[in-house]
């Protein structure tokens, strides 16, 4: 893998995420633990950015702050043109519903729902009629290679298949930003690789950005850039020249 140092997203593409001097800590008074200590980061549309770093470096906290599910303590955060800290809690919820897709480490599929129903959840949350939502989710499940598993419950699917359902769920609502938290942590090397290939192949679009939190160096090759976090700060961001952007 060939990487070179770069700190900013490509200046020619509009920024999907712009983080400037963001701080976040947990606890109060003397027990307060600072987790983000002035993070600066840009993510461009059409880009896949991997957020790497040791445990406790603040990767997941940064992801949560970008998603608007944790409030930052200071700094500026603009996501898809919206200043997240200025949004009310309800507006943040609406923003996530309309613009974001999520892939979780534990997949967090709803056990009693079939693969198609799970993949349809973001559309159902948006108020789409169930039949339409499931029809659209079924299309996406075909795209991720689970066309023959649409009526399976999560318990009947392998880890890799569950992650593909989670990918379908993240994509079904056509979000402009996809946030992935350790998407390959519970998968073996081959399955993890396949999941990232799939995400790159059908998820990567010029009008969409992806941020992937990971420890897994085997998937670095799927990133456009890799941001390395250390002790609550972005230590460096490297362009991955091994990728073909054509």
């Amino acid at each position: 893998m060939a990487t070179v140092e770069t700190t900013q997203a490509n200046g020619d593409t509009p920024a999907a995420v712009r983080v400037r001097g963001v701080y976040k800590g947990f606890g109060e008074g003397q027990t307060r633990i600072p987790v983000l200590k002035g993070v600066d980061l840009d993510v461009a549309l059409g880009e896949i950015l991997l957020l790497a770093g040791p445990s406790g470096s603040g990767k997941t906290t940064l992801l949560s702050v970008i998603a608007g599910i944790l409030d930052s303590d200071g700094g500026a955060l603009n996501v898809l043109g919206s200043s997240i800290p200025e949004l009310s809690p309800d507006a943040k919820t609406r923003f996530r519903k309309q613009n974001l897709g999520f892939i979780f480490q534990q997949y967090n599929l709803l056990p009693p729902l079939t693969a198609a129903e799970n993949a349809a959840v973001p559309l159902i949350i948006r108020g789409l009629p169930r039949s339409q939502a499931i029809a659209r989710a079924t299309e996406v499940l075909h795209q991720v290679g689970l066309g023959d598993r649409i009526d399976f419950l999560p318990a009947k699917l392998s880890g890799g298949q569950q992650q593909r359902v989670a990918i379908a769920r993240a994509l079904v609502g056509e979000p402009r930003l996809i946030l992935c938290d350790e998407p390959t942590a519970n998968l073996d090397g081959e399955s993890g690789r396949k999941a990232m290939e799939l995400l790159r192949r059908i998820g990567n679009r010029p009008d969409r950005a992806m941020i992937v939190v990971t420890h897994d160096s085997r998937i670095f090759e799927f990133a456009d850039r890799i941001a390395h976090m250390e002790d609550g700060r972005i230590e460096h961001v490297k362009q991955n020249h091994g990728r073909d952007h054509s």
């Binding site: 599910i69 996530r96 480490q105 729902l113």
Partner: protein, 377 residues
């Protein structure tokens, strides 16, 4: 989202069944015990309901129907003189002993009706004719008396036995409501009842009356009480007076009330706790929904839907089981079981309250839930 909520509810089958069992059991116990209690209360004033009279005139210090305080014989004419009385007739009521041919004794509740009119007669006659009471020594037994005195094989029309050493001949078999004391009813004429009864200075137990058209039983009772100084009640008022006396003096209310309350509390506590655990164990799922853009209001609606769905299902099953119990065990009136809509409504409202409370605790938990929980592996 309703679909997802219900799928989540039904998906965890063990907890769903636990919830359902807790609620159903609680509702069944409450309705069953409440219905038995109310059945007993109905039995407590069977002496009133078995005599079809709209107004009862009594001693002014009467407490309940079984506590007879005899009136002076002149009271009948005084009552008849009150404006608005259509008819007023004497009624004897007393507990006596019947003796069978085989020498066995059995307590009976003897009711003496006005011979001319037979007013206050039971509504249902199974065998014979009630008018036959006018024949010498004639009495009418209710179905319980037939059973107690030896059963249908021994006790038939024409069977002879003794009441307080006086001859009695079965002239009719009637149907009545069982009494709280479980003493069977025997009907005869007023005058014959006086001959059966022990020697006393006063023997007129009650006067039963009916208002003329245009006067309500309540109005007539008030007039009689005001003009004669006697006690006067509608049948319903006298029934309630008897029920209140029973509740105050027998401890039955506390007894049943404790059982009902404990059954309700235990059942509902199990259900509430299980529902809370159900929510807690699904926190990750709720967190994921919240992260994906489900608002707290929507999650609250999902919780309420789950709670009320299981609540209403449990209510239906519980009431169904209690009704089945009543139908199986209380057929023919051998056990007190009266399922009334106020009881069902009360249990329903209480159940809704518990569902709402259990929901509120869960909703509070979800409102505080940080969706970031889903990012913690």
């Amino acid at each position: 989202m309703n679909y997802i909520a219900l799928k989540m509810l039904y998906g965890d089958r063990t907890k769903y069944l636990m919830l359902l069992c807790g609620l159903s059991f609680s509702v069944m116990l409450t309705v069953q015990q409440g219905s038995i209690f109310w059945g007993l209360m109905r039995w407590s004033h069977a002496g009133i309901t078995n005599v079809n009279a709209p107004v009862w005139v009594t001693d002014p210090n009467i407490n309940q129907v079984e506590e007879v305080k005899p009136l002076a014989d002149t009271a009948v004419t005084r009552v008849r003189s009150v404006a608005g009385v259509d008819w007023a007739v004497p009624l004897y009521k007393g507990v006596l002993r019947a003796r069978l041919a085989d020498g066995n004794y059995q307590q009976i509740s003897l009711v003496g009706l006005d011979a001319a009119t037979l007013l206050g007669r039971p509504a249902i006659v199974r065998e014979g004719r009630i008018e036959n009471l006018r024949a010498p020594d004639a009495v009418a037994l209710d179905q319980w008396a037939v059973d107690r005195l030896g059963g249908p094989q021994k006790i038939q029309l024409g069977t002879v036995f003794e009441i307080n050493d006086h001859k009695a001949i079965v002239a009719a078999i009637v149907h009545t409501q069982k009494s709280f004391q479980n003493i069977p009813f025997v009907y005869t004429t007023y005058e014959r009842a006086l001959t059966y009864s022990p020697r006393e200075r006063r023997k007129l137990s009650y006067i039963v009356a009916k208002p003329v058209a245009g006067v309500t039983p309540e109005q007539l009772a008030r007039r009689i009480a005001a003009e004669t100084g006697l006690g006067a009640f509608t049948a319903e008022e006298f029934g309630w007076k008897t029920i209140v006396w029973m509740l105050k003096n027998t401890g039955i209310g506390v007894n049943f009330g404790t059982t009902i309350l404990l059954g309700f509390i235990v059942g509902m506590a199990i259900a509430g706790l299980t529902f809370y655990l159900f929510t807690v164990e699904n926190l990750k799922q709720f967190g994921a929904l919240k992260a994906m853009g489900t608002g707290t209001g929507m999650l609250a609606r999902m919780i309420l839907l789950q709670s009320f769905t299981v609540g209403l299902t449990g209510y239906g099953i519980g009431v169904g089981l209690a009704t089945l119990f009543g139908w199986m065990t209380a057929r023919g009136g051998t056990l007190p079981f009266v399922e009334t809509w106020p009881l069902l409504a009360l249990v329903f409202v209480a159940l809704l309250g518990i569902c709402a409370l259990a929901s509120m605790i869960s909703i509070r938990k979800l409102a505080k839930l940080e969706p970031a929980i889903v990012f913690r592996g």
